[in-house]
């Protein structure tokens, strides 16, 4: 299937091209349709890529006619394929969902811009995940940052501007650090291709320990900012809470995941375990991850704004992913990647249902969500499913991650880390359940109201339902997915 080799590249290109077609078209409906069609095409293409990868295990798409190490290549293995499909799927669903209601949330003339930005964002995120060239990934990171900033600022409210500013500044810091890290690597090895750097680094470790450590730190902090690693997450709640609903879903679902994947690739594919094990970086990531798990949940627990709560929950969940990396064993990494999947689906589900609440009721406060389940039962059901997954009800993806993470922690030899995982999931209970309970069983705000009056038509909830179905499938099918991801883990 030689022809398929460029599919991954093609999908990015399609997105880029359509992104810039959109502002030209006048009708909003047409834009929406084009966007949906493109997303669908991209999803199919990436699914094909994934199938292909599943068959041949690994392939490389070369861009132009330069081969690696000088040319830019896309190295796609199971991890990239899985994450790519996830990105495409989530954005498809989000675009589908947005097609019904985004014009209510943002100004009419900005709708086209919204789709443009989403296309750009998806393209750049896929690029980050697929590319095996470090500098290329940096460019994609910058593009994704700008697109994401646009998605937040598109709402034009003061707090959006503020949040965007915060995000932009911190992101720029991160980008600068990443670029400096790339420069260090280049100066040490003279390569930008990950594989090539890896091979060179293995030989030239001696004498470069300090530079390696510095560049590692730069990558970790830089990408950590973008991926909302715990102490560097301060931009996230503002940004995610103020953005329009679909944007939040994309931001929380996939935008913060791409840097994680890149960090994973940098850490384990560029530097490699041989180098990492002599440094303190993994332990730091573990500690940050663990702290994030607890602190994120604690902060989420005390929020009064529903969206902020869900945003803080993202911080906690990113903590799980970093925790998995920090463990540094095959199982931990596998489950971290799996959690990217799990959290991507779950969180976009949650954000979309939350934005649906906010859109329909105009309320943001958790206290005002009482009785929401009687008005919007299906939406709250989807929210509940997501919440249950976060809490760790068996067979949902959240549980699978937690379970395997715990096993990995045992494997790592630190039993007390189990307690952190469990405490975190317990904290999740403490903030997800009150909403569900009060939503379904509290009827304080319902005096004299007609039930189900505010529910969106089921037609508009189809993307949400599909997301939650996918979530359940990922949960139940965790076995093969985990095996597949594990097959791609760099040997330790």
């Amino acid at each position: 299937m030689q022809g398929l080799h460029l599919t991954s590249l093609l999908s990015i290109l399609i997105l880029m091209i359509t992104a810039f077609i959109m502002p030209v078209i006048k009708q909003r409906q047409l834009v929406t349709k084009i966007s949906l069609a493109t997303m669908g095409v991209v999803l199919v293409m990436l699914a094909l890529v994934a199938v292909d990868v599943a068959r041949v295990e690994h392939y490389t798409a070369t861009i132009g006619h330069y081969d690696a190490p000088f040319g830019i290549t896309f190295d796609i293995g199971p991890i990239e394929a899985v994450v790519g499909v996830l990105f495409a799927f989530v954005s498809t669903m989000v675009v589908w969902y947005a097609s019904f209601g985004i014009h209510k949330e943002i100004k009419e003339n900005r709708v086209k811009l919204f789709y443009t930005l989403i296309h750009l964002l998806l393209a750049s995120l896929l690029g980050i995940v697929f590319t095996s060239d470090l500098f290329n990934s940096f460019v994609f990171i910058e593009v994704s940052t700008l697109a994401a900033c646009g998605l937040i600022a598109i709402k034009d409210k003061p707090e959006n501007i503020k949040a965007t500013m915060k995000y932009l500044i911190l992101s720029s810091l991160g980008s600068g650090l990443v670029l400096m890290g790339i420069a260090y690597l280049y100066s040490m090895t003279g390569h930008l291709n990950m594989r090539a750097i890896h091979e060179t680094l293995q030989v030239s470790v001696a004498g470069n320990e300090r530079a390696i450590l510095v560049s590692l730190t730069m990558f970790t902090i830089g990408l950590g900012i973008k991926a909302a690693m715990f102490p560097l997450h301060i931009w996230l709640p503002d940004a995610h809470a103020s953005a329009p609903g679909p944007s939040s879903a994309i931001l929380s679902g996939i935008v913060i995941k791409a840097p994680v994947v890149l960090l994973f690739k940098v850490l384990f594919m560029v530097y490699g375990h041989e180098i990492l094990k002599d440094t303190v970086i993994l332990n730091l990531i573990l500690i940050f991850g663990a702290t994030g798990m607890i602190m994120g949940s604690l902060f989420a627990r005390v929020q009064t704004d529903l969206k902020r709560m869900v945003a803080y929950s993202s911080v906690a969940q990113m903590g799980y992913i970093f925790f998995g990396f920090g463990l540094g064993n095959a199982m931990g990494m596998t489950i971290a990647i799996y959690h990217i999947l799990a959290h991507g689906l779950t969180k976009s589900c949650l954000f979309l249902s939350v934005s649906s609440f906010i859109e329909q009721t105009g309320q943001r406060d958790i206290d005002n969500m009482r009785g929401i389940g009687r008005e919007m039962p299906i939406t709250l059901a989807i929210f509940s499913l997501g919440g249950l997954s976060m809490v760790g009800i068996p067979m949902l993806p959240g549980f699978v991650s937690k379970w395997n993470l715990a096993l990995a922690a045992i494997d790592y030899g630190q039993i007390f880390l189990l307690l952190i995982i469990l405490a975190s999931s317990l904290l999740n209970v403490s903030y997800y359940f009150p909403i569900i309970i009060n939503g379904y069983f509290g009827n304080a705000n319902l005096e004299g109201k007609i039930y189900k009056s505010k529910m969106k038509p089921v037609r508009e909830l189809v993307p949400l339902i599909l997301l939650s179905i996918m979530m359940v499938i990922v949960g139940f099918g965790s076995g093969p997915i985990l095996d597949w991801i594990a097959s791609a883990m760099p040997s330790l």
Binding site: I161, T164, L168, S172, L179, A183, Y186, S187
Partner: protein
């Protein structure tokens, strides 16, 4: 140590520059200054790259006349990369400036500290 400083003064300078830019970006409350800091930081990295790329006594990678063999030319990749980098930096700067204007329209100030409250940490 001294020899290291002497031989790597370009790199050291760029790193110092990077620090200056970084700190400006991080600590200054004025948005314009922040953007300037961002540019200083980016530029320092470009410089760093280019200093890596330059090898003393070699020519620019343009075949002017006969081809003198690969060792006669500096590697062109950093320079090429930096062109991309500059583009990226410029777009970022542009975006940031646009945002600053919006910011000023909304809040009537470009001082971040006056606007940011403590929420979100």
């Amino acid at each position: 140590m001294i020899s290291f400083l002497a031989s790597h003064y370009f790199q050291i300078g760029t790193v110092i520059l990077f620090g200056v830019g970084f700190m400006t970006l991080l600590l200054n409350n004025n948005l314009i200054r922040k953007i300037i800091g961002l540019n200083i930081m980016d530029t320092s990295i470009f410089l760093f790259f280019i200093t890596i790329g330059y090898t003393g006594g070699r020519e620019a990678p343009i075949i002017n006349g006969a081809f003198k063999g690969i060792d006669a030319y500096v590697t062109p990749i950093p320079t090429g990369l930096m062109l991309t980098g500059i583009v990226v930096a410029v777009s970022t700067t542009a975006f940031a400036l646009a945002l600053t204007i919006l910011f000023y329209e909304r809040f009537g100030t470009i001082d971040l500290s006056e606007v940011m409250d403590s929420r979100g940490d």
